[in-house]
């Protein structure tokens, strides 16, 4: 090291002064945004549009909603009209999806079932959302002892076997639409509450929340205006994924005879009624409700997955 030769600095060629030109800097151009700026939601929507599977799900759900509203109106038959001469007919130009053992039109009943399934799914998801957001928001924001106590309650409820409780309540309250939704939401909100709490715990320590607090904003307003909008991504995904599980639970209950009762129809009860005749080859009785349950579950699931990817780009693989 010590032997290293002393090196002369390389000779700097002289640069004539007139080579130096001041850059004309215009403020307006430097600040100009080249591309239109996208908000978080626009960006997410753009990503979602690229997801073919999710778009397929969205398309199917739109068609389903449309048919659920207008299907029973288009059809010349009513949901509970019995036509004992035309029992168990295969699909034809008169009865597009065939008829059942009482001669009722399966087409009308299928769309009627769609109304019930969608209603149950969306109603349950919305109630879960409301309770979950309020509960999780308070637990996450208050923190400390309140949080500890509220999470203990959730821990106890979490251990309750979901479908067993639903069955129990349906047995006691008697089968009806309101019972199903009530039973589904009794434990259904827990997942939402956990997610909201986790998010709020994280976000509440950010500076902008502190700033808002310093201005003396009330707690309810902070939760509503500062915290919730920033937790919306995971919440929307959770809603989308809880709709199919509610629809499945309704079908399950109706299949066991605890859900929608005749003369009304739901996909689960139609599938259940179709069981005895499937062996004699009357495939249309099971096929239509089964197909639409499966497609609805599929659509909500792929849409939920797509939303998850779109709203949380970090998770993308």
């Amino acid at each position: 090291m010590a032997l290293r030769k002393h090196q002369e600095p390389p000779e700097v060629p002289s640069i004539p002064d007139d080579w130096f030109v001041p850059i004309e800097k215009s403020d307006s151009e430097a600040e100009a945004v080249v591309r239109p700026s996208l908000s978080y939601w626009q960006d997410a929507w753009r990503r979602l549009l690229k997801n073919k599977l999710a778009m397929m799900g969205l398309f199917f759900l739109s068609v389903l909603t449309f048919m659920a509203i207008f299907g029973p109106i288009i059809s010349p038959h009513t949901v509970d009209h019995q036509d004992l001469v035309n029992q168990n007919l295969p699909p034809s130009s008169e009865h597009w999806f065939g008829t059942d053992e009482l001669g009722r039109d399966v087409f009308t009943r299928t769309w009627y079932g769609a109304r019930i399934s969608l209603f149950v799914g969306i109603a349950a998801a919305l109630i879960d959302f409301l309770i979950g957001v309020i509960y999780g928001g308070i637990a996450g924001y208050k923190g400390g002892r309140t949080d500890h106590f509220m999470m203990r309650i959730i821990e106890v409820l979490y251990g309750l076997p979901y479908l067993l409780v639903v069955i129990l309540i349906s047995v006691v309250m008697g089968p009806s639409l309101a019972t199903i939704i009530f039973a589904l939401t009794i434990t259904g909100w827990i997942g939402m509450a956990r997610i909201v709490r986790g998010q709020v715990l994280q976000i509440k320590n950010y500076e902008y929340v502190l700033a808002s607090k310093t201005f003396g904003t009330k707690t309810a307003r902070i939760i509503r205006k500062n915290l919730l909008p920033n937790t919306m991504g995971p919440i929307i995904v959770q809603i989308t994924l809880s709709v199919p599980s509610a629809i499945f639970a309704e079908a399950f209950l109706s299949f066991l005879g605890l859900g929608i009762q005749a003369p009304l129809a739901s996909w689960g009860s139609m599938a259940s009624d179709a069981l005895p005749v499937i062996l004699s080859g009357d495939w249309w009785r099971l096929f239509f409700p089964a197909f639409f349950i499966s497609m609805t579950m599929f659509s909500f699931n792929v849409l939920g997955d797509g939303l998850q990817d779109a709203l949380d780009p970090k998770l993308r693989r």
Binding site: P161, L163, F255, L258, S272, I293
Partner: protein, 310 residues
Amino acid sequence: MLHYILKRLGSMAVTLLVIITLTFFLMHSIPGSPFNEERATSEAVQKNLESFYHLDEPLYVQYFIYLKSVATFDFGPSIKKSSQTVNEMLGRGFPVSFELGMITLIVAIFSGILLGIIAALRHNGLIDYLAMTVAVVGISVPNFVMATLLIQQLAVTWGILPVATWTSPKHMILPTLALATGPMAIIARLTRSSMLEVMTQDYIRTAKAKGLSPVKIVFKHALKNALLPVVTILGSLAASILTGTFVIEKIFAIPGMGKYFVESINQRDYPVIMGTTIFYSTVLIMMLFLVDLAYGILDPRIKLHKKEGK
């Protein structure tokens, strides 16, 4: 660790108490007594029946009597099947349901993991898309639909497998398949995504650089870490398989607990409904607990007693 176990046992006890209380008061909030229907009974018989089932005591006394009997694992007699106790029904039905559930769980775990690994190794290839299509279909099709389709195709149209009951291994194939598809699909998707993540880790690259065979890399190095997320959902999977047995046992006429449970619901046989609910809840809560313990043991990074505030 001990602290965690004790804490969990405590919260499990509370959960169970909530379930028992909820079940008891729900069942007793229904108007009418189980005996004031059908055949006319004399006043004395009615009185005797009521005192035998403690129905003449005030509600809170009945509650404590029930708590006491539950604590000694005695769920009392069935009201509708007069010669049987709930315990006898559990003793007869549970082994069958347990067998069905366990076979299903094993089938679902192995096939699901295998499908997930293959899909991950052929990421974005044809096999990957095929496997994931199967998985999405498996998640979307309810098990009662799956069961009916299987019966129609394999048992009725082709006639290669028996339609119903639970008497020989051959009879077990269809119910197991119908019940296992959903959980298998969930496991496959989970395994795939966690395999994909693990395969990009440095230690896998090291293993590859050492020239280990792909089989060894996957099974010895990658799988161990990739399976952790799968372990976490085993508890809830067990729950869904258990409730799935209600439907599957009904469709395939399998004499398991699920069939008794559905029957007891339809006949409003309250002691059986209560006993079965409490029994099932206990089983499920134990499962969740064991899964959490297993998770803590498998992954030393997880400190069980410090779960809060992440």
